[in-house]
Symmetry: C2
Subunit: 330 residues, 2 copies
Amino acid sequence: MKKVTIYEVAKESNVSLATVSRVINGSTVVKEDTRRRVEEAINKLGYRPNAIAQGLALSRTTTVGLIIPSTSISFSGRVINGLCDVAKIYDYSVYLHTITEGVTDIKEIIDDVIKARVDGVIIYADKDLDDSLKLLEEYNIPMVVMCSQISADNICSVYVDYKKAVCELCDSYLQKGIEDIAILQDHRNDVVSQLMKSGAEEAFEKHGKEYHGYIEVSKDNRSTYKFLKSYFKTHKHQVFVANRDSQAMAALNASQGCGIAVPEDMELVCMNESKYTSSVRPEISSFVVPAYDLGAISMRLMTKMLKDEQVEEKEKHLNALFSPKQTTKE
Amino acid sequence: MKKVTIYEVAKESNVSLATVSRVINGSTVVKEDTRRRVEEAINKLGYRPNAIAQGLALSRTTTVGLIIPSTSISFSGRVINGLCDVAKIYDYSVYLHTITEGVTDIKEIIDDVIKARVDGVIIYADKDLDDSLKLLEEYNIPMVVMCSQISADNICSVYVDYKKAVCELCDSYLQKGIEDIAILQDHRNDVVSQLMKSGAEEAFEKHGKEYHGYIEVSKDNRSTYKFLKSYFKTHKHQVFVANRDSQAMAALNASQGCGIAVPEDMELVCMNESKYTSSVRPEISSFVVPAYDLGAISMRLMTKMLKDEQVEEKEKHLNALFSPKQTTKE
DNA sequence: CAAACAATTGAAAATATTTTCATAATGGAT
DNA sequence: ATCCATTATGAAAATATTTTCAATTGTTTG
């Protein structure tokens, strides 16, 4: 089983390399007759173009690097799906790197995507990654940053407007006179938490009040559950907002042991709907975050940058749609 | 910002290409003095090796193609994490393709990984993919198949022994005289369902009985929930086994409206634990499937094949660990 | 001190493609 | 038949690296 290259095809069909290349790429004109001959040779020999050689000759790999945290898998998973689906449409391939928090050295990943000569990089950056991005900027590699609001010459960003979501949520409660809104914050210090904070603060400020409702917990789910189980014995909130679906689940389960009925005693809101938050009973309210779209739009933006199409907006924000599943408090 | 290649480094440090290459790859011996000179030049010029050119010269890309369905994201996500973590350790990169059932043409994906000249392919095949795999075999591309039990010259497989899991589960109930065990089957006709079937049948046969407890539903979660809601009004089972976590959740929720208490009236068992099945209340029993390990082990096997290490077992099976969360029926 | 050997280094080929520029073939108009 | 304008094709350079084999340098040793 020896390798068959463009040479063998050329010999078999009695034409030059150039002509075979033209047939493969279908761009320039080739006489119908020779095209047929070449195509026959390709089929006969089972020739497959070599993307590596093409990449070298063209200085272009039609490959996009994706760098994404491995936490919150159901979310990342949907992002990846959207991204891959769109990549397929535009004939790009995806070169994947996951980030395991506290383990992965991002510099190494960046080194690798540079070495691999990807045409562009899409990175999910819910934390500050400035240094790492600098290097990619230096190399002038087109970038799409998911989650953060960064934009520059060669950088686009796509993010979910959690600030607006929380702001409107709080506002609607405040208008009904409900002020006791708790927001769960873990210590990841990520962009989403930041946005939730500023959203709440903005809403309260608008109503002439200051916001003080943060509940700080560790990143770990199990211990969050334990903490809340005892916390709820002494604290009752009218509204309880959690960022991740697993946190909302922890809150729901913890509340049940403490005689707090959801939603009658406490409304529970999750910022990221998943098939679980939507299927659990009692049902809990949640924001539907378009994770699939986040990936899909990021990839679409990337293809525009790579094909030198006009990118009308370099910063794109998506809305999280509130989906109340409970009889809203009066 | 012009490209800096091995040429520039060679000129800068007054040596030949060959020597620079030797320094980069650190394999052959280079005089300490020249090595230092070359390294200085590399740093000064900011030289980065070009993996594409290396790939061409070496006919090797240190890249592994991963082909995985986009359904059941939380499961695939963990597989991907394990796989990427191990890939990183052995300095391989991951080239990702997702399969959207009914949409993606697998042939196209295979074409693409061949074109990309990946060194190996890891594919999650919970359905029959024989034709597609044939092509990879022809090209002699090392393969690891996840989920199915295939093995051949250049193919290893890693799968979770669902058959054994279900068989032992049923057996333990039968020993207690419990025979009314229902197994939910959707119409995906996947390998896992097949294995569950044969596991149940084997257990019943062992006890001199025949198994007839399948409940057939559609693939769609929403309609499964609806179906079960009415089904449970007229049917009560002692034990109810669901494959995917979302199906177990549907069953749990459906049961609650029908006056069936879990676990008192009906034990609910899920074949795939997720953070949701493990955090929902009432708690449900589940098998802990080592998805992360599935990915990690597959990748490890692949690295062995690629580095020509001895692969002692070409078929590796993992056990799903039963984690009963309920007072088991007497 | 010369011979023998080991340690370094370099020249050039090889890897599989694209693309530019030049040439050859074709066809229509005169 | 001849010329001009297309249209089609080919030769060779370029892409960035590795590797083989030969040459050079350095080090012992008799």
